[in-house]
């Protein structure tokens, strides 16, 4: 591991790493990069660590804190590293009223209304306009004062802010290590604000990156509904009125403002050329050079232009049938209908310049409810490499890592980069703590053209029996994943009718994921409570759902994971179809390959939730015989794959129960430090011994 990453840092290239979770992926990357940073402070100035969820971000910072504590304990000197976590206002606000709001949107809105420049300007004249005292304080004093060196988690930032009376969100930071969410680097709308000043010789780590292509695509895609357009319309109207008003009072000022805007754009271009900022992926340099075309240079023209465009979009949404077209077609259509040329549009929404990677789909209604008109215009990006390209181009080393990245070679292909190293590590285990079993269920359902499911009754009953049997033998928590929410709903209903759920209730309590996040959170907490107090519980959940992506089921919270079916994505979605086509044409990735890859990474994600380290143990039950096929099996991560032997394939319920019983009994024995020493746990002497060094070298060569 260290060798591989080291090569990468040396050669300043990019890399892909797969390592089972809980084996210290984060800490080894952190310690390595920090060590490098200390040794060559000029070569690597900054580490940018991107993770997926807020708890994960905080986890990374805590690990870093431990590392730094270790450093100062070993060297005896306090180091001057500054590391911090960044997050949205919602997680950082310390204003008593604003931070009480529950939704990020509300917090943002309220914050704006307290700190926007025009509000603060108003306050000078009328002092009873409320403002945020933390921001005021920060603005008055805090801007020039740098943050003292140390490790700051979100809460520490808040504490610091509170002590000083400064708003932590606005603390401008020049840290050695920054930990934040993907979006801050990938989403052009946010990245422009947050990340553009990051130095070129930084190291970027994307942790939990198995979904990075979807994040990229999400960040580059837009859905427009009628509601969006309506609101847009009102906003444009307001703008128009304001302009009218200002024009009447102060025409000169307006012109000034407008000129400044144009100047600003030009300056940005210059800055980008001299490589001061992170390039905006949506705005290539040549386009900026053209600056703003003449016909939208004045305010009225601009507004008029917006209106025309808006009307056009509205008219497009009035369609009765599904439309799919490529970006060039779309532009041509605009030109024909409302006489908007391609050029001005380009600078307004520069995304279109990559138009070959985009597609436009207009759906007049949802598939499930063809009678209710709910038109949506999907403007969807199909090439994940667009969003991530500037990251690869700008930073010297980018490391993509996760517990489940198999097959490794597909990521460089779809993200369009050339990695220096690619490695998949497995766990060295003192005991076989994971037990993957594949049950011999046939394919259970087929998606017809609509979302109606064809469910095979006998298989549902079999699934139920499997769950029932497992609930009787597995201690504490079981997590079961279904392939989709609709599917789960139907199965739960038929289990209820067949009385299977009642029987399961005799063994364990049942909790079920719902589409509502708050409700699911509650169910999750209760689930954990039930596992804690020994009653035991079952959580029914959905692959690709929030639970499968963000929640870990450590130790007794997940002693068994059951994956019912193969979590293929809903293939009838037009967006997906378009993307598949694009993949086939541009990257020569066959549809089926991609679908299987996608399904397997989600399956691996789901079952991987239960094993969070080598002291943990858990059953992984794949209840679908398709998993036994080589093309599916081969796409599971190596650390799971190597434990699937022929004996654990194609099992009946009884056989699976027997194997599980055996496994669980073995695992329940006390597992002590001594058992691991020399195998999966090394003392310093052992680590430095000749034998071990050879072994490590061997592993490194293999990968």
């Amino acid at each position: 591991m260290k060798d591989v990453a080291f090569i990468e840092l040396k050669t300043t290239g990019h890399g892909v790493l797969e390592m089972p979770s809980g084996t210290g992926k984060t800490i080894s990357l952190l310690s390595l990069i920090v060590a490098y940073q200390k040794a060559f402070p000029l070569e690597v100035t900054k580490l940018i660590y991107c993770s997926r969820t807020v708890p994960e971000i905080e986890k990374v910072v805590e690990e870093l804190r431990k590392l730094m504590e270790f450093y100062s304990k070993q060297t005896g000197e306090s180091n001057n590293f500054l590391a911090l976590a960044l997050s949205s206002r919602k997680n950082l606000c310390i204003h008593p009223e604003v931070s009480a709001l529950r939704f990020g949107k509300e917090v943002d809105g309220k914050c704006h209304s307290l700190t926007a420049s025009y509000i603060r300007a108003q306050r000078h004249s009328t002092p009873d306009v409320p403002v945020c005292r933390f921001y005021e304080e920060f603005d008055a004093v805090g801007r020039q004062v740098p943050l003292p060196a140390g490790i700051y988690n979100l809460d520490d930032l808040k504490d610091f802010g509170r002590r000083k009376g400064w708003c932590p969100y606005y603390l401008i930071l020049h840290a050695n290590i920054v930990v934040y969410s993907y979006h801050y680097l990938l989403d052009p709308k946010i990245a422009d604000l947050v990340s553009k000043e990051l130095a070129k010789n930084s190291v970027v780590v994307f942790d939990e990156a198995h979904n990075i292509d979807n994040v990229c695509i999400d960040s580059m895609s837009v859905n427009i509904t009628r509601r969006t357009l309506d609101r847009c319309h009102t906003n444009v109207d307001t703008l128009q009125n304001t302009i009218q008003k200002i024009k009447e009072t102060d025409a000169a000022k307006l012109k000034m403002e407008y000129r400044r805007l144009v100047e600003g754009l030009k300056e940005a271009n210059v800055a980008r050329e001299t490589d001061v900022y992170l390039a905006n992926p949506v705005l290539p340099d040549e386009i900026l050079k053209e600056a703003v075309p003449g016909n939208i240079r004045t305010a009225e023209h601009f507004v008029g232009f917006l209106k025309r465009f808006l009307e056009y979009l509205k008219s497009r949404l009035r369609v009765q049938h599904v439309v799919q077209e490529s970006a060039p077609q779309f532009l041509k259509d605009i030109f024909d209908k409302v006489c908007i040329d391609r050029k001005p549009l380009r600078s307004v929404s520069a995304t279109l310049s990559y138009f070959y990677s985009f597609t436009i789909i207009i759906e007049p209604f949802e598939d499930r409810t063809p009678t209710i008109a709910n038109p949506v215009l999907h403007f969807s990006c199909m090439d994940p490499s667009i969003a991530i390209k500037p990251v690869f181009q700008r930073f010297q080393s980018v490391i993509i890592t996760s517990g489940t990245l198999s097959p490794l070679d597909i990521y460089p292909r779809i993200l369009d980069f050339r990695p220096v190293t690619m490695a998949s590590f497995t766990m060295t285990l003192a005991r076989t703590c994971l037990c993957p079993l594949v049950c011999n269920y046939p394919q259970t359902h087929t998606f017809k053209n609509t979302l109606t499911l064809t469910l095979v009754d006998s298989v549902i009953r079999n699934y139920g029996n499997l769950l029932l049997e497992m609930s009787a033998i597995v201690p504490d928590g079981i997590v079961a994943f279904f392939t989709s929410y609709v599917y789960m709903e139907n199965i739960v209903a038929s289990w209820y009718e067949q009385g299977i759920l009642e029987n399961i209730q005799r063994n364990k309590l049942i909790f079920i994921e719902t589409p509502d996040a708050a409700e699911t959170s509650m169910a999750l907490e209760k689930y954990q409570e039930a596992c804690e107090n020994g009653r035991g519980a079952i959580l029914l959940s959905v692959a690709r759902g929030k639970v499968s992506e963000g929640i870990d089921f450590v130790h007794h919270f997940g002693r068994a994971v059951i994956m019912f079916g193969v979590p293929y994505v809903y293939t009838q979605s037009r967006i997906l179809k378009a993307r598949l086509e694009y993949l086939r044409d541009q990257f020569q990735i066959r549809e089926n390959d991609f679908l299987t890859f996608d399904a397997m990474r989600h399956a691996a994600q789901c079952v991987g939730r239960a094993i969070r380290g080598k002291t943990d143990y858990g059953l992984m039950i794949f209840a679908d015989k398709r998993y036994a096929r080589a093309d599916k099996r081969g796409k599971l991560p190596r650390w799971i794959q190597e434990h699937i032997n022929d004996g654990s394939l194609n099992l009946t319920v009884d056989e699976a129960v027997q194997l599980s019983k055996h496994f669980l009994r073995q695992m329940a024995q006390p597992f002590r430090q001594e058992d691991q020493l020399g195998l999966s746990l090394l003392t310093l002497e052992q680590l430095e011994s000749e034998e071990m060094l050879q072994k490590i070298a061997k592993i490194a060569h293999q990968t």
Partner: protein, 519 residues
């Protein structure tokens, strides 16, 4: 009997008991029955002794009431007054229903305690059988220092017994049975009713509101089972259904639970995402229009089931932990109410910190710092490991000897230099190998039988019991020292001696029996 001073609460005439007519009296502390024409009671039970009452089913010809005592005996009363038998019985039943619980608490606690101890501890039970039932020592003496021990050591343990939780499947346990004529019968027991009440406080409220003023108990439960509330997948609600309100209340409860949010930040899905942009920018995977209107009936009933299951599980869980955690709950509630103010931040971090620490800590990397236990100091560890070994005339080697010799041999081997001029002949070598391989002459001694395999299990069991009983007696014996009261002296010289004799006799009997069996 001195019943004159007692307050008589109810008198029922024409009650038969053992085919004799008589009168039933319900008094303040006991229930009694006297045959007609006589002024004494032949049957008299203190309420405290009564475990429960049972009544004959409604349709039966004989209208009876049965009292089951703690001892297991039972007494049946037959109400034979033709005109008012049913009324009489119900009156008696109602009164008993009110009286019994009062006395239940007063019921012989000590007896119960003893009973419980015997039930929970099989070893003790065996000891009790060996010593008390076979009359080696008296029951009082047996309990004398037992109970004392327990009560002194842990006075709260007996009263503060752990609350029994509720089975998650209690509703599944009331499987309806068809009664042949297009109806369903549900068997309810007191336990199930209690489970229902504890899990669904709303139903309990309804019960206390309606029973017995508006509905009889039976009607209440009939309606309960009929209502959609029990059949969770049905949505058509009768408007005058008393339980529809319960459902609403449950919904409210569920909602408030959801609104309260979760304490553990690691499972809070709402704050998982760190993305400031809203829907409309980028794909939002959940399509906005999933309002109830455009969902089919089937779908919404499905999601109703799911909701119910979550709620049910949460309620069962809460019912289990409600009692013990009320103070803690209050504390957290108060703090969460003002948690919405700016205090929330001061309050939250500890929970969060602890959880985060938990997550990033690897227990196997931690130095073990649990309290040091005392290592077992064995003089002859091999005796501890192998148990008694039949004595044999051969030389006895301890493990230390073996280790020494192994070390010695290893040492020898290290310094071994082949002396090829003086090797064995091949025949002697092969015979030596034959002698040393399994089944060979020299390997036979190794297949010694352990003593525990030589003795049949029942003899072993008996010996164990005798051993335990003798141990108990010895405990009694030693507990008499120092002899500072005449009672102890008497105990020591008098019957303890006798007891030991008895025990010894028992041992002797066993010994002879064993010998007999052997021959």
């Amino acid at each position: 009997m001195s019943s004159l001073s007692e307050e008589v609460l109810l008198v029922v005439k024409k009650v038969r008991q053992r085919k004799q007519d008589g009168t039933l009296y319900l008094m303040a502390e006991r229930i009694a029955w006297g045959p007609e024409g006589k002024d004494r009671f032949t049957v008299s039970h203190l309420y405290a002794d009564i475990r429960c009452q049972k009544i004959s089913p409604d349709g039966k010809a004989k209208i009876q009431l049965q009292l089951v005592l703690h001892t297991g005996e039972s007494t049946t009363f037959h109400f034979s007054n033709e005109s008012s038998a049913l009324k009489d019985r119900d009156a008696a039943k109602e009164l008993l229903q009110q009286l019994l619980p009062k006395f239940k608490k007063k019921a012989n606690k000590e007896l119960e305690e003893k009973n419980r101890m015997l039930q929970e501890d099989p070893v003790l039970f065996q000891l009790y059988k060996d010593l008390v039932v076979s009359q080696v020592i008296s029951a009082d003496e047996f309990w004398a220092n037992r109970l004392g021990d327990i009560n002194n050591a842990d006075p709260t343990s007996s009263n503060n017994k752990q609350e029994v939780g509720i089975s998650g499947a209690f509703l599944a346990d009331i499987r309806p049975q068809t009664d042949g004529c297009n109806g369903l019968r549900y068997n309810l027991t007191a336990d199930i009713i209690e489970s229902i009440f504890r899990t669904y406080p709303a139903v309990k409220e309804k019960y206390s509101e309606n029973v017995p003023h508006n509905l009889t108990e039976k009607e209440f439960w009939t309606r309960f089972f009929q209502s959609h509330y029990f059949h969770r997948d049905r949505i058509n609600t009768g408007t005058q259904d008393i339980f529809s309100e319960c459902a609403k209340q449950d919904e409210k409860g569920l909602k408030s639970m959801v609104v309260q949010g979760v304490k553990n930040p690691l499972v809070d899905l709402l704050s998982l995402e760190d993305k400031t942009l809203d829907e409309g920018y980028g794909f939002c995977k959940t399509f906005p229009s999933t309002s109830n209107s455009n969902r089919t009936v089937k779908e919404s009933s499905n999601s109703a089931i799911i909701k119910r299951f979550n709620h049910h599980s949460a309620m069962v869980l809460a019912a289990g932990s409600r009692k013990g955690e009320t103070p803690a709950d209050h504390a957290s509630e108060t703090s969460s109410t003002d948690g919405n103010s700016r205090d929330s931040d001061f309050f939250q971090p500890p929970v969060k910190k602890v959880k985060l620490q938990e997550v990033i800590e690897y227990e196997d990397l931690q130095r073990e710092n649990r309290p040091k236990t005392v290592a077992l100091n064995l003089k002859k560890s091999d005796r501890y490991a192998h148990g008694p070994v039949p004595l044999q005339s051969q030389h006895y080697t301890t493990s230390q000897d073996i280790i020494n010799s192994v070390n010695y041999i290893r040492h020898e081997m290290l310094n071994y230099k082949p002396n090829l001029t003086q090797v064995l002949s091949s025949t002697t070598a092969s015979s030596a190998i034959a002698a040393l391989s399994p089944g060979g002459v020299l390997m036979q001694a190794a297949t010694q039988q352990a003593i525990n395999q030589m003795v049949p299990t029942e003899v072993q069991g008996e010996l164990k019991h005798l051993y335990a009983a003798a141990g108990e007696l010895l405990r009694h014996f030693w507990s008499c020292f120092p002899v500072n009261t005449p009672f102890l002296e008497e105990k020591l010289t008098g019957h303890l001696e006798e007891m030991l004799q008895t025990a010894y006799r028992k041992f002797h009997i066993w010994q002879t029996r064993r010998m007999l069996r052997k021959t």
